[in-house]
């Protein structure tokens, strides 16, 4: 039993699941309550982008999908919409990062901010596609800006966490 738990802990995806579970609890509590400028900050989006920055586009896409699916399970939006959007964000962050020659800390912050902004704009589009009404408004731009600034500021610690969590899976792939 203990051996199984240790083996599970060694699995990168299992570690990411546990990290995502904790981050999701922060998302639904403190970040749901603290709304600077009336905007709910999206740390799940930051986690997906950080996974892409830490381990590349493919791992970022799968990590984003997993994180998004977990987020969907506690939201009332259709299951799969958040998963698709966050997978795209993780893939985009990793893909663009692969083109950066000698990435620095600030370039990673900028990439996290950009990927988050894209994710916040993609989300209402995806929701509109599946039939949600009234989500695609000009307010999306302001929301995307605030989320991008926050996610850019906090991207480095999140990237480090993702790098640790996904270490094993990357070595396998």
């Amino acid at each position: 039993m203990i051996d199984r738990l240790i083996a599970l802990g060694e699995n990168g995806w299992a570690r990411l699941f546990l990290v995502a579970l904790v981050v999701l609890s922060f998302q639904t509590t403190i970040f749901n309550d603290m709304r600077p400028f009336g905007v709910c900050l999206q740390v799940m989006l930051l986690l997906a982008a950080s996974a892409g920055l830490a381990r590349g586009s493919e791992t970022g896409a799968i990590a984003g999908f997993m994180v998004g699916l977990m987020y969907d399970l506690v939201l009332t939006t259709p299951l799969g919409v958040g998963a698709a959007v966050l997978a795209a964000v993780g893939y985009l962050a990793g893909y663009v990062h692969s083109f950066v020659h000698e990435p620095t800390w600030w370039s990673r912050m900028l990439l996290a901010a950009g990927a988050s902004a894209v994710g916040m704009i993609l989300m209402p589009f995806a929701l509109t596609v599946v039939g949600a009404e009234g989500v695609l408004t000009t307010r999306v731009i302001g929301v995307a800006f605030v989320v991008a600034v926050f996610n850019g500021a906090f991207s480095l610690p999140f990237e480090r966490v993702c790098r640790w969590a996904l270490a094993d899976s990357t070595q396998r792939t």
Partner: protein, 373 residues
């Protein structure tokens, strides 16, 4: 490199297809999606609860910083409301005192003339069915069986057992409690069909809808106009009927008001503005059920009883309580068929679940006095 690219494309395609499938399943209301959400909720809620406890200080600090101004504003607004309420309460107390003075002046019974004994509720009945409370004053204070008990909000009940140093009070919600009450109904608002130029009707040029009541002159008393302000020097002695005579001053300075004989005026309220009253019997209905008032008659003048109309004790020789003690307000009107009047549910103003200090009026109704052999 080509194989790696193929794997990547296949993974992305697989994720996209999975997303579409999940969205389709959810939008079609699949039970498996609900089961998945429920399962994840079972796993996630404990983590969320722990996190909520951990982050609460941070949340409080955040709200302390960001909502400080709003809280101050709300505090100011609530202070204004409290001040307004206190002012209204003082005005109401003044009105009550004036009414009591007026009653005393005319030799009518009022609460001001009844002695009372203040007591504290020390216990409730351990039974699930009896609705009684015990107070810490008894026969040493002059308390007798049948005396009404009230607190600051209104009537609470009546004394049923008296001992030395304690008494038992039956609450008004007890099914065996019954009391004659008056329901004070607001008069129906009437809109006169006055012709243009009628001096009795005020007209406004604004778009605001105003309700005006046409003042009519009482033909029986020449010069007497209800609702008008009349100088005392213009009224005279008049006989309304063989049994009723109105005696009023006739000349300047006749009014009995020191220092202002020539300037004083008497304001007579219009009869239509006076609240209408109807008597009935209030009966308790037990725990968790509001008392009802029966025997209210369907009188056209009284009109339909409105929600919120005050219910006060009616008084009378056989009543359990003196008149004009507040009981509560009408919370529901249940219409009944035939000539039966409506049944009124009454929301008692006194909080019977949290009684503390009460006042026992030393007024023993005639029906509760022991019969002498």
């Amino acid at each position: 490199m080509a194989g790696n690219s193929f794997t990547r494309r296949r993974a992305i395609l697989l994720l996209a297809l999975t997303s579409v499938m999940l969205v389709t399943l959810d939008l079609r209301g699949s039970g498996s999606v609900d089961g998945l959400r429920s399962l994840f909720g079972t796993l996630f809620r404990p983590v969320e609860r722990v996190t909520r406890v951990v982050v609460r200080p941070a949340e409080n600090a955040w709200h302390g910083i960001t909502d400080y101004g709003n809280v101050l504003e709300e505090n100011r607004r609530l202070k204004d409301l409290v001040a307004y309420g206190e002012g209204a309460g003082i005005a109401a107390i003044a009105s009550v005192r004036e009414a009591q003075e007026l009653l005393a002046l005319n030799g009518l019974p009022s609460l001001a003339g009844i002695n009372s004994c203040t007591a504290q509720v020390v216990g409730q009945s351990p039974s699930n069915f009896a609705q009684t409370v015990e107070i810490n004053r008894g026969s040493e204070c002059g308390i007798k069986v049948g005396m009404p008990v009230l607190n600051a909000a209104g009537l609470v009940g009546k004394v049923t057992d008296v001992y030395d140093g304690r008494s038992v009070v039956m609450l008004v919600t007890d099914p065996s409690y019954s009391l004659a009450v008056k329901v004070v109904n607001a008069p129906p608002t009437t809109v006169p069909s006055a012709s243009p130029g009628d001096s009795a009707v005020d007209t406004t040029s604004t778009s605001t809808t105003t309700t005006t009541i046409k003042v009519t002159t009482t033909t029986g008393i020449p010069g007497f106009v209800p609702g008008s302000t009349i100088p005392p020097s213009t009224v005279t002695n008049q006989t309304l009927s063989p049994n009723v005579t109105v005696t009023v001053p006739t000349g300047p300075g006749q009014i009995n008001k020191p220092g202002s004989a020539n300037q004083s005026e008497i304001t007579v309220p219009a009869g239509a503005d006076l609240p209408l009253r109807e008597t009935g019997a209030l009966e308790g209905r037990g725990i968790s059920r509001q008392p009802v008032v029966r025997f209210i008659e369907n009188q056209p003048r009284f009109g339909e009883v409105r929600i919120g109309s005050p219910v006060i004790s009616a008084g009378g020789a056989t009543s359990l309580a003196p008149p004009d003690i507040v009981l509560g307000t009408v919370s529901r009107v249940m219409k009944r068929s035939g000539s039966l009047g409506p049944l009124l549910e009454v929301r008692i103003t006194a909080n019977l679940d949290a009684l503390n200090f009460v006042r026992v009026l030393l007024y023993q109704p005639s029906t509760e006095r022991p019969v002498e052999p």
